[in-house]
């Protein structure tokens, strides 16, 4: 089943300018792995040596931060939408 991934501007150099990708995967982790397979160089930017997402990378599914769900194990429904965004923003 197909999942849509929205790519932030900061990563589009690694996706040849593409702002979206369509991948297969039943969980967030599987969908991201499929994305890394499509675009070389993406994985090193958003995951650390331990394979986990870096601490300033936020991934949302349907607008909800995956850290409030099951992280990379969170299931993704067919037609679901993942958004990758930098965690750098905010007030005081």
């Amino acid at each position: 089943m197909s999942v849509k991934v929205k790519i932030p501007t900061q990563l589009r150099a690694a996706t040849g300018g593409a702002s979206e990708a369509s991948v297969e995967g039943a969980t967030v982790g599987e969908a991201l792995d499929a994305l890394y397979a499509q675009h070389e160089g993406l994985k090193d930017r958003i995951t650390g040596d331990d394979g986990e997402l870096r601490r300033f990378v936020n991934v949302y599914i349907g607008g909800e931060d995956i850290r409030f769900l099951d992280g990379l194990d969170t299931p993704v429904a067919a037609g679901g939408e993942l958004t990758i965004l930098p965690a750098v923003a905010g007030g005081r």
């Binding site: 932030p8 501007t9 900061q10 990563l11 931060d65 965004l85 930098p86 750098v88 007030g91 005081r92």
Partner: protein
């Protein structure tokens, strides 16, 4: 300018001083690096130049990332923007006495043009935005920033877009819309607003989101609180700072400001012990501190301190590290303690602060009660905003008398009530 580059706080990659805020290698936040070596030769001269500078943050422009700061004579709002900073530092003896402390000062940043410290950061961000060729100001805000961006845009004659959570306090909504901004109420919490704006900032290239794509510059404005405190104390550091934490930006930049001046020999002392203050209903940084980790697990905010209600704090890990390194702590206080904190500050100093200031004052009281603060310490409490912005928080916290317009009723109801 003294700024030399943008440097990633995670992997140390450097970039030129452009409109970039995230490291392309690792997504880490970018921070402005400086070379102040040309200032080190004549520290006395530098002190005199600062003292002769404008009564605003621009007296510290050697330490801010802008090319053409408004000068001493800059009184034209359409060029200089609103004059932020130069707020009072007040010795609060009755507050100290009430808490059994030796020396407490209040840095009252409610004295800024839109009544919060946000005018400082917006002044720097908007100046840099103009230099970089942006034509519109924007922000994601918990309220105070909304006021500051809308007002600054009006002063500079720029269009603006302000995004806020739809459940914000009415005072903050009214105090934003009045400036003629495009006010967008987002159905969600601050973290939802932030996510939307992070996405938008990638799609609207001529917009300067002050706390997103301008964040590296914006955050530097908070250092001016440290500079002012040091200058107002006679070019010395205080022993301890108690400051609110939402994203952790203000907290870490205050320490950076003291550090820069200590390194130059402009002031004496040491980086103060840094105490951070959060509300129990949104305490990801205090939780991480208590758990002995620097991983700030995001939370869903539920507190009356809406201006601190950031569940996913961008500078949280750095705030935890700073508190530990300086022998400080990050504490959290309940909504009832927040209300009591607002009352305590108001009753002992005549300063009415918003809920964030209640958090900070309540945290000071907690530290005092815990015996963390030595009697010989000089403590500065950073009050970041005005109580008129969160009036609901003090509803029902005091009694009043209602009488007929007669002397007898006054005596019977009020005076006997007082002496009863």
């Amino acid at each position: 300018m003294s700024g030399t580059s943008l440097k990633c706080r995670e992997c140390a990659a450097t970039y030129e001083l452009g409109a970039r805020y995230v490291c392309e290698n690792c997504f880490g936040p970018l921070e402005v690096s400086y070379d102040h070596s040309h200032l080190a030769g004549d520290v006395d001269g530098l002190r005199r130049r600062i003292q002769a500078g404008p009564q605003s943050i621009w007296r510290y422009s050697d330490f801010l990332p802008v090319e053409t700061p408004p000068g001493v004579g800059a009184t034209n709002l359409s060029r200089a923007g609103l004059p932020a900073g130069a707020t009072p530092l007040i010795k609060a003896d009755r507050l100290a006495e009430r808490l059994g402390l030796g020396e407490v000062w209040v840095k009252n940043d409610a004295h800024n043009p839109t009544h919060s410290f946000k005018d400082r950061v917006v002044a720097v961000a908007s100046q840099r935005a103009l230099e970089l060729g942006f034509d519109t100001l924007a922000c994601a805000s918990t309220g105070n920033l909304a006021n500051a961006v809308a007002a600054q845009a009006a002063a500079l004659g720029l269009p603006s877009y302000v995004f806020i959570p739809s459940d914000l306090e009415e005072q903050k909504i009214l105090g934003t819309g009045v400036y003629g901004t495009n006010l967008v109420k987002v159905r969600g919490n601050y973290d939802d607003v932030n996510r939307l704006c992070t996405e938008l900032s990638g799609e609207r290239e001529s917009w300067a989101f002050v706390n997103i794509n301008m964040r590296s510059y914006y955050a530097e404005g908070s250092k001016t609180i440290a500079y002012e405190i040091a200058e107002q104390l006679g070019w010395e550091t205080p022993d301890r700072i108690v400051s609110p934490i939402a994203s952790g930006s203000l907290f870490t930049k205050i320490a950076k400001g003291f550090g820069e001046w200590l390194e130059l020999g402009l002031i004496t002392g040491a980086v103060p012990t840094m105490n951070g203050a959060q509300a129990t209903g949104c305490a990801p940084v205090a939780n991480a501190f208590a758990a002995g980790t620097d991983v700030c697990r995001p939370v869903k905010p539920n507190t009356i301190a809406k201006s601190l209600a950031i569940g996913n704090p961008a500078d949280g890990p750095y705030a935890v590290e700073l508190a530990r390194r300086t022998g400080g702590a990050v504490d959290a206080v309940t909504d009832d303690e927040i209300r009591a904190g607002i009352r305590l500050l108001a009753e002992t100093t005549g300063i009415f602060t918003e809920t964030a200031g209640g958090v900070t004052t309540a945290t000071l009281a907690k530290l005092a009660e815990r015996g963390d603060i030595g009697h010989d310490e000089r403590v500065v409490l950073v009050i970041t905003g005005d109580g008129l912005k969160t009036l609901d928080a003090v509803k029902g916290t005091f009694e009043s008398y209602e009488i007929n317009p007669s002397f007898e009723d006054f005596e019977a109801t009020v005076e006997q009530g007082v002496h009863a």
